[in-house]
Symmetry: C2
Subunit: 433 residues, 2 copies
């Protein structure tokens, strides 16, 4: 088998076989196939695509390049959630303890924020002492003991994906649905899960701006999982404005705890319940409606919050933050962005809100940026809200005076206010399962 | 300027600027841009193409990566011919002395044969002593002195093209019209020519199998030359069967000398006259018809043959071969391939004839193959000829017994004989100018 023939086959629109895909992934991993032959194949895949079977083989090859967690005889149903990312999306922090409190095992390997979207690891690290860098052995132990653990990617997980991703990043081959799907799924399936629930975001703050491309991404992800013998279900949900009222790491931790305490009843709760309900349904425990009721009960009954405390402690974090938010990093300064006119909020350019958060220090513009966990944004007005000139649209929290001007400019530019009232987008825009 | 942005721009169908194209060609030449970023750009060019302006910039960048011959005050019009290659195409050997005998300066840098097509350098090297490896200084001197020189590519000519071609060869990006055109033209324009005549072959033995794709290639080549301020004209000519009666290096030299002696009056002569006529017309000396008459007169008057002798001697070759063909390598063995049935030759699979010649040792299947200059093929029957069972279709000349079986099989498979008479393809299928 020659790499050149594989490149030409894909270039000409052919379907790569199991052996061809494993040949190229393993050859690149081992260094036998040079980067200059891998990158044109990636470009050919960008143009020609891959069908579901090819994408499943790619996922399998990348998955098998590293370790796959094996929970052995653990009786609990092992299930995770993956979100394609957005602004203010803190659902993992709420969902993981809810699902674990339902009796599910939740082995969650997450990423950091980059660009306008936030990352679960950064949010968790705003809790003093919380260690996301555990070994896979400790991770497995924790999931076995308390039903949940939340860590970052380790070197053992899908190293071929890491190497391929680094190459895609410098060769203009990031934006390819099969390559994106293979990358996501090889990491998720390394968690040793039985099932996976997907939250595919749609709208101005999401990777997928329209429902059709989001549905295509969801369809492809679900197909890979099923081709690899896993249960999988995807929700398409709105990301045309930030999720919830807060953006920023410590601020989102507080909002998550408030949700777990039952103090917030909004679409974040709705989404958490739906995702947890689907996870429980996939486990075969009960039907979707009863599953949602059980998920909701873990919040009202306090078992989800207790599981959250347990999770924080197990990761070395200070769980007194649950009762005393001053334990979390707090910004010294606040700035209120005011409305310049009367009307209704008709849209929020979500990416711009994310960029405003980056400008405050809450996110990363580039990989080397250091995060200020205290900084962030409270969205006082959301889409469809009426506003009057001088009303506060949002509050910016920050520590560095030099950053506020740019951040405030970005934030106020994100808001479109007009005379016509505009209804909020629906939260649930579709499903693929 | 970042290579990544250039890749993404082309991937998305954008037009690359002069600066972007020079940035990537110069950066790759110097080693500043890694191969793993060049090869996906080449693949994106494969898919998205390049317009005439981009292709001219690419050509210019590759041309300028090396030396361009400067003939200074040499008054003669400097002109060359490029053929896209075929089987039995020995026209350069005839045309160069004809054109030089017409008073044109012909600085010809040629290639070797690879695959089923032959190469001018291999043919010349079948003349004992003929040295195609001259320095550019000696080349220039010879063109200045006798009006013609025929050499191989030197290290100084378009090194960026050499480096890019080697990368294309292992990354599935050879078959791209703009990349092919840039590669051809950067080498040709390095000869320091004022004008160029193209012979774009069409048919079963050519790179372009149909007239539309041949016309597109010709159009692109002519556009590059004109964008770079050179005169250029393309003939589209038939390669649905081998050109002339002989295939093989020494055999083609003999056929060329016979043509120069005026002993052959066939389409090879027609083609030579048309190409030389167009070269002379481009020089502004006279109109096409008169130019063709002048070209023809160099053959009948003997000045072309005299120029050929001069050329051979100047390159260190033994010009007694002109009078005594036994000076040239001669095969020890002959084998006649016979017709198995009565009828007419309706087609000859030209590529297969080329492969038969390779099997005999007359060509290269891979770059490392060593050529047997004596071996080759005489085509006794051509398309439209009537044949009877047992007639000789062709004679194979060879030195190595072990090769004849495969070669004869390929040769006889190339012939299609049927009851219906079929007219020969026209020689001239179109022009672009």
């Amino acid at each position: 088998m020659r790499m050149l023939d594989i490149i030409i086959k894909k270039r000409n629109g052919g379907e790569l076989s199991h052996d061809e895909i494993f040949f190229f992934v393993n050859g690149y991993s081992s260094g036998a196939i040079p980067e200059y032959q891998v990158s044109p194949l990636l470009m050919a895949i960008f143009f020609r695509g891959m069908n579901d079977i090819e994408t499943a083989y790619l996922t399998e090859a990348m998955l098998n390049s590293g370790e796959v967690v094996d929970f052995g005889a653990l009786p609990a149903y092992k299930v995770d959630k993956h979100s394609t990312g957005g602004v203010g999306d803190k659902i993992s922090l709420i969902l993981a303890p809810v699902a674990a409190a339902c009796g599910l095992a939740v082995p969650m390997i997450s990423g950091r924020g980059l660009g306008h979207t936030g990352g679960t690891l950064d949010k968790l690290e705003s809790i003093p002492g919380f260690n996301v860098h555990l070994t896979l052995a400790r991770f497995k132990e924790m999931v076995t003991d308390i039903g949940v653990s939340m860590i970052g990617q380790t070197q053992e997980i899908a190293p071929a994906d890491k190497k391929l991703y680094a190459l895609r990043d410098v060769t203009g081959t990031v934006e390819s649905i099969p390559l994106i799907c293979g990358s996501i799924m090889s990491k998720k399936l390394a968690e040793g899960i039985d099932g996976l629930v997907l939250d595919v975001k749609v709208g101005s703050g999401a990777f997928m701006k329209d429902i059709e491309s989001a549905r295509e991404l969801a369809r492809s992800l679900v197909a890979i999982a099923k081709n690899m013998g896993k249960s999988c279900f995807a929700f398409l949900t709105d990301m045309s404005e930030p999720l919830g009222d807060y953006v920023g790491n410590a601020l989102e931790v507080i909002e998550s705890i408030e949700l777990l305490k039952g103090n917030i009843d909004d679409r974040q709760l709705e989404l958490t319940v739906a995702l947890a309900g689907k996870m429980l349904e996939l486990s075969g425990a009960c039907g979707f409606e009863e599953a949602c009721a059980r998920a909701r009960a873990t919040i009202h009954g306090g078992s989800a919050l207790a599981k959250f405390r347990e999770l924080v402690r197990a990761h070395g974090g200070d769980d007194s933050c649950v009762d005393d938010y001053s334990v979390l990093p707090q910004a010294k300064l606040q700035y209120e962005v005011k409305a310049a006119t009367d009307g209704y909020v008709t849209s929020i350019a979500t990416t711009m809100v994310g960029l405003s958060a980056i400008a405050l220090g809450a996110g990363r513009g580039s990989l080397d940026d250091i995060i200020d966990h205290a900084s962030g944004i409270k969205l006082v007005k959301k889409v469809s809200d009426p506003v009057r000139e001088g009303d506060t649209l949002g509050v910016l929290y920050y520590n560095d005076e030099s950053k506020i001007e740019r951040a405030a400019e970005l934030f106020s530019q994100a808001y479109r206010i007009s005379d016509e009232e505009r209804a909020k987008e629906e939260l649930f825009l579709g499903t693929v399962g």
